[in-house]
Amino acid sequence: MRAFGLIIVLLTGGLLLWGVRDFPLFGAADSPANGGVVTAYYLQHTMQDARVPNAVTTVLADYRSYDTMFETAVIFTAGIAIFAILRVFDDRGGRRLRKSQDAPVKGDQYRIIVGTTSRLLIAPIQLFALYVLVHGHHSPGGGFQGGVIIGASFLLLAVARNLQTSLDRFPERRFLAMGAGGVLIYAGTGLLCMLLGRNFLDYGALQAVLPATGPEMARSHGIFAVEIGVAVTVSASMFAVYAMLASRGRLKDGL
């Protein structure tokens, strides 16, 4: 079995290395990946269509909007799947565990530096997450990155203090609702466009409800709306994954 696996790996690697000879040079401007008609369209029309200088954001949330919507649904599904696999409700043991939670955690007196540093850092981290989220139109950033940073700030709290402290601020009911709510914001934006008489996720239709905007600025705002949905789902799912795994599904007495 071991030798068989090694042979398969070497065969695959050898074939791929053989193929490396035909790749274009690193960073070549005329490589097939950089020279396509679709690439040129994306880059040339991102400002005209949606007034967004960051072509990645336009492709992510406008040209390939369906893709991103279902990626968000995948992340939400992963959070729900982990909930279904791991979550344990033990009402009898709950009171005992809660009492042990109120007692000072062993080794707490050694956590002054870590605790203080994390307390000072969490607010700037969340502020930076919001900056990354709202500045995704003009610089690298957007819903996925901002959402992950928000989730990471709650992870920092859970690691530096304990899981219960983090769960008090981001309880189970809330992160489950936020995971579903983010997908709802995304799909709801698409549905709103449909109700206004255009195609699903054709944000140009939003000019009817946004005052004093043309269809291009309406697309920009529509992209922002779905980015918020993505950020909400991603942050909730990131924290759900950690909280479920760290507490073996009990959401008490984490690591």
Partner: protein
Amino acid sequence: MPTPFQILLHNFNYVCYVVLLMIGLHAMITKRNLIKKLIGMSVFSTAIILFYVSIGVNNGGDMLAGHDGRPVGNIPVLEHGIGHDAITHPETIDPRRYANPLPHVLMLTAIVVGVATLGVALAITQRVFQDYGTLEEDEILAQLNNPQENDD
């Protein structure tokens, strides 16, 4: 005709991706420990991300100077002045000055979906450990084949 060494030097990033992919595949196929398999899966997906990102790189080479002598920006974000002109005249933008945004978009979602996949896989692994007390494949298989030894 470039020598194999020159090919290796010019396409070093692709060689790195092949090596990472082989490491990941080897871990997934031959390791018996479920966590080691997951580490292999993670390394494998990292290799794919490296591949996509290095395909999308466009540093322009020497032939493409910036429009006003500045170095060429190779990320797919339009500069302020250029972007403003593009509202009315999209043809003023030279797409060869920017990287292809598509690989970036695909990998952006792939990273987050990779984390979600890894989370679900770790959750299943944790359940397996709760039920069988081990993460070694052969020990789990032995317990599955002899269910009477399971109730300890």
